[in-house]
């Protein structure tokens, strides 16, 4: 018998899909994937959505999410084929030999139970120790994972703890029964960069201290490079490349891996500010229901045909700024001057031309479109509303716009459900362009997309800016995106503007503490980055 803890041989996984208007049919999600993992090793599974990485990770617990079924191959854990054992035996495996940390810890904890009871549940269930010992171990784990007040945090309920903390509590929950293998499924993806780094460090330390083996699933190569020994690159359920971290990062062989490594390679020459900004935000303060102040005295300018990037972690007020500019949330103080004249604070009072000239693109393209309208109807609607276009004229313009977003006429009769994530976002861009706006507010438009797709969207936006001379207010938490597309940058923290200026000014030292934290938290695609950063930090994230 080999010394492999986990051995996956020729794994095939399928599912039955029910596409609208078609007969249900079977598809294959994972084709013939094999991997070996030794005790104490960490394997990174990387790929974009649909690569089958979570599905493979869960197969090591013989679990299929939804209608997913393992159709072929073998999975050995500690030398026995877990696909052959019955429910009773699986319950011995799950939570004892293999444990799981999910992407959204906030949704993965039972809201009606104290954290401690959930953390030690498995340990007690499998009879590994008594309650007092298990609690002691949990507290120790809380402490080593850097959670505040480790003695008492277990008495809290999930909603009383922040997202980054919950993610660490979930890691403690996975470690508590002393498993041989932990499956980490995108454990830091839902977190702010500044929080991600702490969770990442905690996970890395826990893996090192306990000697547990891990499958680390993520779409972010820079993140996985910090914690793994080996990396397996997946695409559409196929293995693309397998190697040590160093091999993959420094000398990728396959073309797809090379693309992944150099993602975020867009460069953009910064433009100089003009004398006549298209949008001037003057001393804006805003609050929700008059109580919680979310914006404090914010002033920024956006120049025609340029991009202002607004960055900050969740709760920094960046999306609220967009709501104030669009009129969805009238400010409690301050003025907004658009194209030389003051805008009325509240949306219902604005005239149709103001509405036309200020468009918005959202993070979730699929919920920003009516699923029962075709692409042609979606893009045609602003043409009708603002320009009164009809019939052939409208169709001609829709096709022009579809060409501009590099999709073409063949998509005109498709429904949103028939488009990929990137295509949906492109349709949303075309819809906003149809209004011939002077300013588009882009709210985290690439956050829900895979890195390569996101790059495509950013390139498109830059291109369109050149052609249409439209300005962007680009809201994001992703600094790599900011570096690649902005002309000026506003850094926000807890509702205040902490740093503002042209891109080169903002990104040149000396930095204030927060900007430094934010900049240094962006994972870099090099070995040993995590340790380097942690050694030089001056402050902690607000979400911590």
């Amino acid at each position: 018998m080999s010394d492999n803890l986990l051995e996956i041989k020729n794994l095939k996984i399928g599912a039955t899909v029910y596409p609208p208007g078609e007969k249900p049919h079977d598809i294959t999600i994972v084709h013939d994937v094999s991997l070996n993992l030794k005790k104490g090793q960490v394997m990174g599974l990387i790929g974009e959505s649909g690569a089958g990485k979570s599905t493979i990770g869960l197969s090591s617990m013989s679990y299929g999410r939804g209608g997913v079924e393992i159709t072929g191959g073998e999975v050995f854990v500690n030398g026995r084929d877990i696909l052959q054992i019955q429910a009773q035996g699986l319950r011995q495996l799950r939570g004892r030999e293999v444990t799981y940390v999910s992407q959204s810890a906030a949704a993965s904890f039972n809201p009606a139970m104290r954290l401690m009871d959930q953390v030690i549940e498995t340990t007690i269930l499998h009879g590994l120790s008594n309650k007092a010992q298990a609690e002691e171990r949990a507290i120790e784990l809380f402490r080593s994972l850097g959670l505040p007040d480790p003695e008492n945090i277990g008495n809290r309920y999930p909603h009383q703890v922040s997202g980054g903390q919950l993610q660490r509590v979930m890691t403690a929950m996975a470690l508590c029964p002393k498993p041989d293998l932990i499956v980490f499924d995108e454990p830091t993806t839902a977190l702010d960069v500044t929080t991600q780094i702490d969770v990442l460090a905690a996970i890395k330390k826990a893996i090192r201290d306990t000697g547990v083996a891990a499958l680390y699933i993520t779409h972010d190569l820079a993140v996985v490079a910090q914690v793994s020994d080996e990396i397996l690159v997946l695409r559409h359920g196929n293995m693309v490349e397998h190697g040590t971290v160093q091999e993959i990062i420094e000398a990728p062989k396959e073309e797809y891996t090379q693309e992944l490594v150099k993602a975020h390679s867009i460069t953009h020459e910064e433009k100089k500010p003009t004398d006549n900004p298209i949008l001037r935000v003057e001393n804006i303060s805003a609050s929700y229901s008059g109580e919680i102040q979310v914006l404090k005295d914010v002033s920024v300018d956006i120049h025609p045909g340029q991009t202002l990037a607004v960055v900050g972690e969740s709760g920094s007020g960046k999306s609220t700024l967009a709501r104030v500019i669009t009129g969805l949330l009238p400010p409690s103080d301050g003025r907004i001057i658009f194209d030389g004249k003051e805008l009325t604070p509240a949306l219902p009072d604005r005239n149709i031309d103001d509405l036309r000239e200020l468009q918005m693109i959202y993070q979730m393209a699929d919920v920003a479109m009516n699923p029962r309208q075709t692409v042609g109807q979606i893009i045609g609607r602003p043409l009708e509303l603002y320009f009164g276009m009809k019939g052939a004229e409208k169709r001609k313009r829709v096709i022009e716009l579809l060409d501009e977003i590099e999709m073409g006429e063949k998509f005109i009769d498709r429904y949103p459900a028939e488009l990929s994530g990137g295509q949906k976002q492109r349709v949303c861009i075309a819809r906003s362009l149809a209004a011939k706006p002077k300013l588009i507010i882009c709210d985290e438009v690439t956050s829900a997309l895979d890195p390569l797709v996101a790059d495509g969207i950013l390139k498109l936006l830059l291109n369109l800016q050149k052609i249409e001379n439209v300005a962007y207010l680009f809201i994001t938490h992703d600094l790599a995106t900011v570096k690649s597309i902005s002309d000026s940058i506003a850094v926000m923290y807890l509702g205040e503007l902490v740093r503002y200026g042209t891109k080169s000014e903002v990104l040149s030292p000396p930095f204030d503490d927060y900007t430094d934290l934010l900049l240094s938290s962006v994972p870099e695609m090099k070995l040993g980055w995590l340790e380097e950063v942690l050694a030089h930090r001056k402050m902690e994230s607000a979400g911590n």
Binding site: Y63, G95, A112, E121, L125, H159
Partner: protein, 319 residues
């Protein structure tokens, strides 16, 4: 500001009292617009106009409606439900015995049907879409689809007349032991259980299935918990609020909706008392019964609201 839960609970109770006040108004208005004159109906068709006029004066019927309403209301608030027109006795006395009987029947029906509904709901979830689930759903749907008088007479015919197991008439008296009383009310309890079971069972099933979609149920499954523990510890506590709501509505039905069942089994409860006095045009009794039914309904729903509030960990343990 106290604990937020206390505020919410106090708010519910205040709303309930307001609702009860409005209900009392509606009841009073309702009985006022009923056709016919109370004095006339007491004295009968042959009464002289003078006699009717005298009685009207005596009963205070010449006062404006709002005066009579507030007199009635202040009486009720002091525990005086008035006197029955038909026999001149205190309504409170007449009702108290009847109400006790109704509550006796309702609480046994509840003690039987609520746990049964929840357990069947849990079983249906555990074996969802397999035969036990389909059997449970089918039988309970069939029993709710049959009118209760039909089930009642079926049971009387087969169980009571043919098999002779339980009495067909549920008469209680003071000298009976608890066992004898239970024997007497067995058939009405079965009928009531069959009527309320399906609603509660299906709500339990739906509420738990809804929770079963949550990510934390997957977490529990991946912990290696057995399916029943997953449902009991992780799904059920998060499904309590909708379940309690439907349970309370059905409990209220057990008290206020038993008229037909009481009549079938000649059971000396509130329902029959109400029906008797409606036919005698005894307005004060009808008003008193209606007010008691309204307060039962409202208080059970307040309890449901309070349980939902208290069951929510976000409200119970604020940040």
């Amino acid at each position: 500001m106290g604990h937020p839960i206390l505020n919410l609970v106090a708010q519910r109770i205040a709303l309930g009292l307001l609702l009860l006040f409005l209900a009392s108004g509606l009841i009073f208005i309702g009985t006022q617009i009923l056709p016919g004159d109370v004095a006339q109906s007491i004295l009968g068709q042959s009464a002289t106009p003078e006699a009717v006029a005298n009685l009207r004066k005596e009963l205070g019927l010449n006062d404006p409606a709002y005066v009579r309403y507030f007199e009635w209301l202040s009486g009720v608030l002091q525990g005086d439900l008035g006197t029955a027109l038909s026999n001149g006795k205190s309504i409170a006395e007449g009702i108290s015995n009847r109400l006790q009987n109704t509550l006796f029947l309702a609480s046994w029906a509840a003690a039987f049907s609520v746990p049964l509904a929840v357990i069947l709901g849990l079983l249906a979830v555990q074996y969802r879409n397999r035969w036990p689930d389909k059997l449970i759903s089918g039988v309970s749907l069939a029993s709710i689809s049959l009118p209760e008088f039909f089930i009642g007479y079926l049971l009387i015919y087969f169980v009571s007349v043919q098999l002779g197991w339980f009495p067909s008439v549920a008469i209680l008296n003071e000298t009976m032991t608890l066992g004898e009383k239970l024997n007497a009310i067995a058939l009405p309890v079965v009928v009531l259980t069959m009527v309320v079971l399906a609603h509660m069972m299906r709500m339990t099933r739906a509420a738990i299935l809804n929770v079963m979609q949550s990510a934390y149920i997957e977490t529990a499954e991946l912990k290696g918990l057995n399916p029943f523990t997953v449902i009991r510890k992780h799904a059920f506590p998060n499904a309590i609020a909708p379940i309690v709501n439907v349970v309370m509505i059905n409990l209220a039905y057990l008290v206020v909706g038993v008229v037909i069942v009481e009549v079938i089994f000649v059971y000396p409860g509130m329902g029959q008392y109400l029906v008797d006095h409606v036919s005698k045009r005894d307005v004060p009794v009808v008003q008193a019964c209606a007010l008691i039914f309204a307060s039962v309904y409202i208080s059970l729903n307040i309890i449901a609201d309070i349980v939902s509030i208290v069951a929510n960990p976000r409200l119970r343990h604020p940040k």
